[in-house]
Symmetry: C2
Amino acid sequence: MYKVKVFVTLRESVLDPQGSAVQHALHSMNYKEVNDVRIGKYMELTIEKTERDLDATVREMCEKLLANTVIEDYRYEVEEVVAQ
Amino acid sequence: MYKVKVFVTLRESVLDPQGSAVQHALHSMNYKEVNDVRIGKYMELTIEKTERDLDATVREMCEKLLANTVIEDYRYEVEEVVAQ
């Protein structure tokens, strides 16, 4: 079994109004040292071992459903979970 | 300058309807090997160096604004950014 952590973030060139709102909120709470905030999604998938190639499967799932590749980038980390 | 990556996830005991919806979507796309999906938030903050303790500041920002600690857990990673 694998635990796959997927990070989906807006591309650099895309405006992030949610991030700006959080940054403004932090400034008004007196955390003036915060220069920039970008907000993305974080997903943890638990995936069974199959004969299919895990990397190919995860990339496919990201391209087709989890990320909108027109405006978002994704990256992922795989961790093998040893059954107890 | 620091880049702080904050991960906010629902606590284990809290239902994640958004995660279930994504899991069902993946199953209907024939990724039956996906056992569980949990969805959280991922934030990248760029923070200037100050005399304040960075860890204390980040924890405060998480507790007060970025995470709802009643239902969410958070963790973060700090990366020092060297000015070019």
